[in-house]
């Protein structure tokens, strides 16, 4: 019985390996048939010498399979692939351009050469993720052609802050469906590299958003069903919320409440330089030390009595404010200027997710732990499909959201969570 199980397991594994390594025959059937159709249309029934060369990224070991398919398809249309003695030649080239594959047949009859071409859809690629003690996982929340500066899941919906609009989405069978779009109404052009923040209100029934020189407040009105969002924007030079206590989506009291580590988190606001892309360093209460201008800040909860503030300065230095002293953090050489803290069930319980760079295509995220003044990688890098333009902590503090600009300027918002291995 055990032997049968063993054989079954081995067979399953081998089948799986074979399936993953072998070419997917169906991928080539359609273009092969289409090209054979065109070749037969040019040549008519008869014999032809068939040659195939590969100038594309089609793996070399798949070419014989393509040849077999093509021979079968030609034969079905009355064209027999023969040896070198044939007067006619069909030279097939597997080519490609930046967008797609292109199969080209040069049909040579005497001195005349005619050309047939078919387009082939590019294949898809699978990327493997290296294993690590803590693995970051991303889940796409929304994809859009419009720039997303910040987003918030709220009341079963999604609110995105765009450079000039706030867009509210509701759940639908096919995913998010736009429900409302409100112009923010800026008077001045936005800076390049615009930023925004959005937070739940303490009752978790509304949101507060900040974008350059503007503040917007949204609330869900239940007075007349169906509930409707009211969004009001005004000019504002108020400081932006940068640290907020975790808020539950059920609307429980949160201000000053404890995290899982029973440490109170103090809401913190900082003044933003709306003509640029950073916070000035001025915050809404005294920290005992002057902060430098910074791009990002996060509160790191270590123990019941220790929750220092981590600062990513515009000079690229990462510093931590403990007590009233700013201290440099080691191990941050590869950090970008965006980071956000979240708590998990893994490792020390609190990690910092850090972008790999400020403006790089093919960005990545990585989790770090900061037990003292040195940051240690806690996960492998998680490749993102573009440039990470913003990172922020989810309202409940258990995950991080990332806004990512893709190569074709398509934006997506990803939820990033930790899996303990």
């Amino acid at each position: 019985m055990k032997l049968i199980w063993l054989v079954a397991v081995v067979a399953t594994v081998l089948t799986g390996l074979t399936a993953s390594a072998a070419p997917a025959p169906s991928q080539w059937e359609q273009p092969s048939g289409a090209l054979a159709e065109q070749i037969a249309g040019i040549l008519g029934p008869g014999q032809a010498r068939l040659t195939i060369r590969n100038l594309s990224t089609v793996p070399t070991d798949e070419v014989p399979a393509i040849r077999r398919l093509l021979e079968q398809d030609l034969k079905a249309r009355g064209v027999l692939a023969s040896g070198a003695e044939s007067a006619n030649t069909v030279r097939v080239t597997l080519s490609e351009n930046l967008r797609e594959r292109l199969w080209v047949a040069e049909v040579v009859e005497g001195n005349e050469t005619r050309v047939a071409m078919v387009h082939v859809e590019p294949g898809t690629a699978q990327q493997s993720q290296p294993k690590s003690a803590l693995a970051l996982r991303k889940q796409v929340v929304i994809t859009t052609n419009e720039a997303v500066l910040a987003a918030l899941e709220i009341a079963g919906g999604l609110v995105t802050v765009q450079p000039e609009e706030i867009v509210i989405y509701g759940h639908a069978a096919e995913g998010w469906r736009e429900q409302k779009r409100v112009g923010i109404g800026q008077k001045k052009p936005l800076a390049r590299d615009p930023r925004a923040v959005i937070f739940l209100t303490p009752d978790s029934n509304g949101f507060e958003a900040f974008v350059a020189d503007m503040a917007c407040a949204g609330s869900l009105e239940h007075t007349s069903p169906p509930a409707d969002w009211t969004v009001l924007c005004r000019e504002s030079d108020d400081p932006w919320t940068i640290v907020q206590p975790p808020v539950t989506q059920t609307g429980s009291a949160t201000q000053g409440t404890a995290t899982q580590m029973d440490v109170s988190v103090t809401p913190m606001k900082a003044f933003y330089n709306s003509a640029r892309n950073y916070f000035t360093g001025v915050v809404n209460f005294s920290l005992g030390a002057d902060l430098p201008p910074f791009y990002s800040a996060a509160q790191i909860i270590r123990t019941a009595s220790s929750a220092p503030l981590l600062i990513g300065g515009i000079d690229g230095k990462i510093q931590i404010l403990e007590g009233s002293a700013l201290k440099p953090v080691a191990g941050t050489r590869d950090w970008g200027s965006d980071f956000a803290a979240f708590h998990s069930e893994c490792g020390a319980g609190m990690q910092i997710v850090v972008s790999g760079s400020g403006e790089a295509a093919g960005d990545s995220l990585r989790a770090y732990e900061l037990p003292a003044q040195e940051a240690f990688p806690a996960s492998a890098s998680l490749a993102m499909d573009g440039t990470v333009t913003a990172l922020w902590t989810a309202p409940d503090g258990s995950s991080v959201f990332a806004a990512v600009r893709g190569a074709s300027d398509q934006y997506e918002v990803d939820r990033v969570t930790a899996l303990c291995n």
Binding site: L55, P59, N97, A116, M117, G123, N277, D315, A361
Partner: protein, 453 residues
Amino acid sequence: MRWTVLRRFAISCFVVLLALPATARTRPHYGGTLRVEIEGEPWQRPSGLARRMVLDGLTVMHADGTLRPALAVDWKSENDNHRWQFRLRPGVHFHDGSPLTSTSVVASLNAVCGTTCPWTAIHAVGSSVVFTGDSPMPNLPELLAADEYLIALTVTSDGKTPEGVLGTGPFQVEGFMNGVLTLTANDSSWQGRPFADVVELHVHRSIRDQWLDLSVGRADLVEVPAEQLRQAQQQRLTVVASPPLTLLALSVTDSGALSNPNLRAAITLAVDRGALFNVIFQKQGEVTASLLPSSLTGYSFLFPTERDLNKAHVLRGGLTPPPLTLGTEGGPAMQLAAQRIALNLREAGFTVQVVTAAGGQHTDLLLRKLPLESNQPQSALESMLRGVGLATPVLEETSAGLFRIEREFLEAHTLIPLLYLPRGYAVGGRVRDLRLGPDGTPQLVAASLEDAP
């Protein structure tokens, strides 16, 4: 997997990023002066560096090959592409403060457009610009992204001609003095303020002087001609290079002695592209006999690039044409290439004299560079054909159709594609996030300086 890698690589060739790992990489800094040196003119068409910093088009081509709104927010075609309506972006102003209007756009396009315009007439209709054509214009939105159709103010609000170039772009002209064109950031740019406060364009600097200035920190960005890319890398300069985007081609007149198509075909077969590629251009770019690069079409291998001197002799048929003149545009490498081609042609029985093509002087043969104006094959081909004076819309969409158009055009042997060449630049350590646009020009608007205040 390999396909994805190739695609990402290809895209990343347009988006070359410079990492400076001394400290953590940060968001781009605002401020500072970016010093750029060039050999030519900042306003030269196409691809003069100042043009896209100061001027915007109605549309813009993204590096990924997609067309994006620019001064026009949307557009629609009617009457089987004989009529196009482009709606202008509201709230945009020229650098002198005057608003962008449909009238100003029409005036700008009328000022630059000659006989090879894709349209027959252009009108201002409210906040829209309407193009009409006797022929269908299926590629008009893509064509309008080209350098020549960038919008400049032609008449100021008081009815005068502007003294300098006034556009709507992210930089505005501050002045030109002692060979330096100074551009300053436009805080009101609809695209967002650029990161650098000032860009200084030092013009007419020899490549040697440019590299010297870069090495001593007097310049942040200098040019690297294709034939010197290898040398620049050997000198450990930080080089960014585009994919092959500039077509080096030989124009052949179809009048006089060369009205005989067999002689033109003989010239085509006599040119040794391999020597140009290996010797003159130091194996940069790619050898081609097609108008569009392989990366755009995938079919360029169908045009043979091999030299066939025997066949060239046969085609010449014992005729000894009168001495031909071969002109060239550009610098030393172009001169060397012209000399090499003249040598090739002499081996095929032609007598060729190399001359400098100055002031539009007519020559029988002209070695020239043609830019790839689009990264969409259909509009790229139409733009390329317009560039050589063939004002015919390209209506074909399929690869087979585009191949047929190319083949029919090239069979006349009035233009002989030789090489596709990259554009290259060397950058100093202060510059970060420098990207090359789809035409290979550096997008200084998105670049920032590491040591900006």
